[in-house]
Amino acid sequence: MNQYQPLACTAEAGAYQKSWTAELRSAISSGAQYAFANADTPHEIFHAMGMPVVTNQWWSAVIAAKQLSTYYFDRMAEMGFHDRLARYSSLPLIAELDGDRERQPWGGLPRPAILCARQSTEDHQRIFDLWAAATGAPQFLFSAPGAPDPQPDWWIRARHDWEALFGSDRLDLMVAEIRDLIAKVEELTGRDFDGAAFSLYMDAIHRQEMLFEEANALVASAERCPIRIAEQIPNVMIPQWHRGSPWALSHARRFLDELADRVERGIAVCPGERVRMMWIGAGLWFDTGFYAAFEESHGAAFVWSMYLPFAADGYIRHDKGDPLRTLAARFATMNEHLHQPPWVNEWLVHQARTYRIDVALMLVPRHDRYSGYGSRFARQALEAAGVRVIEIWSDMVDPREWDRRAMYELVSGELERNGYGPA
């Protein structure tokens, strides 16, 4: 029997986010404003100006975790959208278009004051345009020109050498657009942007991401993995959605301390850990229990998901005296690092080595093509590095084609074929 006990801070993170959402709803009914934004946009600007942010992909994951996505994807078809469109970024839109707020988790999302996305894919501008039409909220879209000369070792260069890595032209454009966003939020809130305070706030975010970097190093180097990925994710992502706030910083600290204590005491997810696995791609939000499915039977534990290491590599950008430009360097190429070659393949190999990975499960969402492109390059690179890769053709929020039992059999069959028999 697995005696695994969750970290105390895991429940705290969940409770914080739930009460934050409830408070947000009541604040909004008394006139407060909030922004609804994609994960790869500079939330920092909204936070700095006292406007809370609800992240599209987080809300999508919540809807899926509450087992509501099947209903909404059926509604999506009734609304006249075909069934090969991406689901992750659109599930909240469908819930909004459906209109029945009571059906949504936690009583539903109120109307946002502004919508914000980056045109990293062709569908974001369309999804956000539909949101704007449905809610009357203004939309702000960042453009997303491509990277002409993508350097494989982005996670090293992006810390100090980001001007050269992302290119001055792209950074200039992003900074100009960030300034436009600031003007828009000033207009909406009637508040002025405070550059000096923003600089301090960016420092706080930097400190938070450095704590996550330490946490990541601890998890990676521990003899056996001390924390399930289903717990890593909320402990990282909830503070990330509030990054730089006093709560987020203290939570990151608490998380790190608890981890350090566990590692010191030798507590492991899977005391009989024999196989170290990575889960590649976004979470399997409607069935996060799947991550624990191979612990007892095969001594196989998921030790890696992108969220913890990405909190460091995706966010840490050393300030060169211009916080807005530093911010632009965080977002000029954000999710692309997780999905496009050469970035994704090189980073995954580096991560697999750091974490001593044996087996990778790779989520390939065929209808979320920008999350699926580059999967084969990643697979090839990981296999060349000695990692066995199992493709999981499914979707992060759509359970309609997910067959847990069949997937369990597929993965355990592969584990056994590779010499990782039942424990």
Partner: protein, 355 residues
């Protein structure tokens, strides 16, 4: 007909969004590599590295590269704001980094952003200067103001011919399939030759198909004439405002002030550009083209891998209905050309438009 690239100073491009006047100003006629032959299969190992949901047009250019069919081309420009150009670039540069495809042609990512505003204008000018440097490296000339003006004028003649082609299509003097082939031929012809070819075809065209059902074709970009032919067994395609259709060429740059800015502005504000903003302007332009052509019905189709045009469907349906135009829902285009006729017939029957 598709051709093989001739060696020499030739520059290819993939995807929409490269103003042909820019290459022309440097003395280069840029060739749309979709007009060139491609092998039917992607050779290994490239084939194994491209997921099945990468669409056919991207696979096609990757096949051309993997089988060295573009070796006669010196440079290939990928248009970032068209997913075909963008995705092809992502894969092609990685294949090259891994030395799985040869080192020629050299690659360039054309990063023009499709929107207006001062910061985007500055950005686009930087991209244009980079393109100029790149083309100079390929044997092109620097863009003098006079050369840019000259290129705009040469392209103006082509645009005039293209407008005549659109008018003739609307009047059903020429079939949509023929018009489409004539328009696509521009992908590998200098403006004068292209204009001449269109004019010659229009001189010979005099069979107005009065009384035939007037069809509009919208949805995903269509680059294959088979679908046009399958639809035209039921009537005449008189408008095709999908992202690769006749109407999508940006308007001729207005020559006041700096000619380079004029060229970039015309492209950046092209209402038919896939990533153009605002979205509503794109919908309005599509519906206006169908109304102007007097469509009786509009056929809506999607690429089997579509992940963006589908979001527009409900709004387009509503706008067409408000304009009194009926809709034929074709759904996803079958991969096999042989299946097209039956597929179109079924949709026409289902919509009550079977002629």
């Amino acid at each position: 007909m598709r051709a093989v690239a001739e060696p020499g100073t030739s520059v290819g491009f993939i995807g929409a969004g490269l103003p042909s006047a820019l290459a022309l100003a440097g003395g280069i006629v840029a060739i749309d590599v979709e007009c060139l032959e491609a092998p039917s299969d992607m050779p290994a190992p490239t084939g194994e590295l491209v997921e099945p949901f990468v669409d056919a047009r991207v696979r096609r250019v990757l096949s051309q590269l993997a089988s060295d069919q573009l070796a006669g081309i010196q440079a290939l420009v990928f248009c970032r704001d068209d997913p075909v150009g963008h995705i092809a670039y992502i894969y092609a540069q990685e294949l090259r980094r891994q030395e799985l495809i040869s080192a020629t042609p050299s690659f360039f990512l054309w990063n023009l952003v499709h929107r207006s505003g001062a910061s985007v204008r500055t950005f686009n000018e930087v991209q244009a200067r980079r393109l100029e440097d790149f083309l100079v490296g390929c044997g092109g000339a620097r863009w003098s103001a006079a050369a840019l003006v000259g290129a705009i004028e040469r392209e103006g003649a082509r645009s005039t011919a293209r407008r005549a082609l659109i008018d003739a299509t609307r009047l059903a003097r020429i079939s949509g399939s023929e018009a489409f082939l004539l328009w696509r031929a521009g992908g590998r012809l200098a403006p004068e030759a292209h204009a001449e070819r269109i004019e010659a075809a229009l001189r010979g065209a005099s069979n107005p198909a009065n009384g035939a059902m007037r069809i509009g074709l919208i949805g995903s970009p269509v680059v294959d004439p088979h679908l046009y032919r399958a639809l035209e067994r039921h009537g005449r395609i008189v408008a095709d405002p999908h992202p690769a259709g006749l109407a999508v060429m940006p308007s001729v740059p207005v020559l006041e002030g700096d000619p380079l800015s004029a060229i970039l502005k015309a492209e950046a504000e092209n209402p038919f550009a896939l990533r153009g903003l605002p979205v509503a302007r794109n919908h309005a332009a599509i519906v206006a083209a169908c109304v102007a052509a007097g469509c009786d019905t509009v056929a809506l189709q999607f690429d089997p891998n579509d992940d963006h045009v589908g979001w527009d469907a409900p709004a387009l349906r509503r706008a067409l209905r408000d304009a009194g135009i009926s809709l034929v829902e074709l759904g996803f285009v079958p991969a096999e050309p042989a299946a097209l006729d039956g597929w179109v017939d079924d949709a026409m029957t289902a919509s009550g438009s079977f002629a």
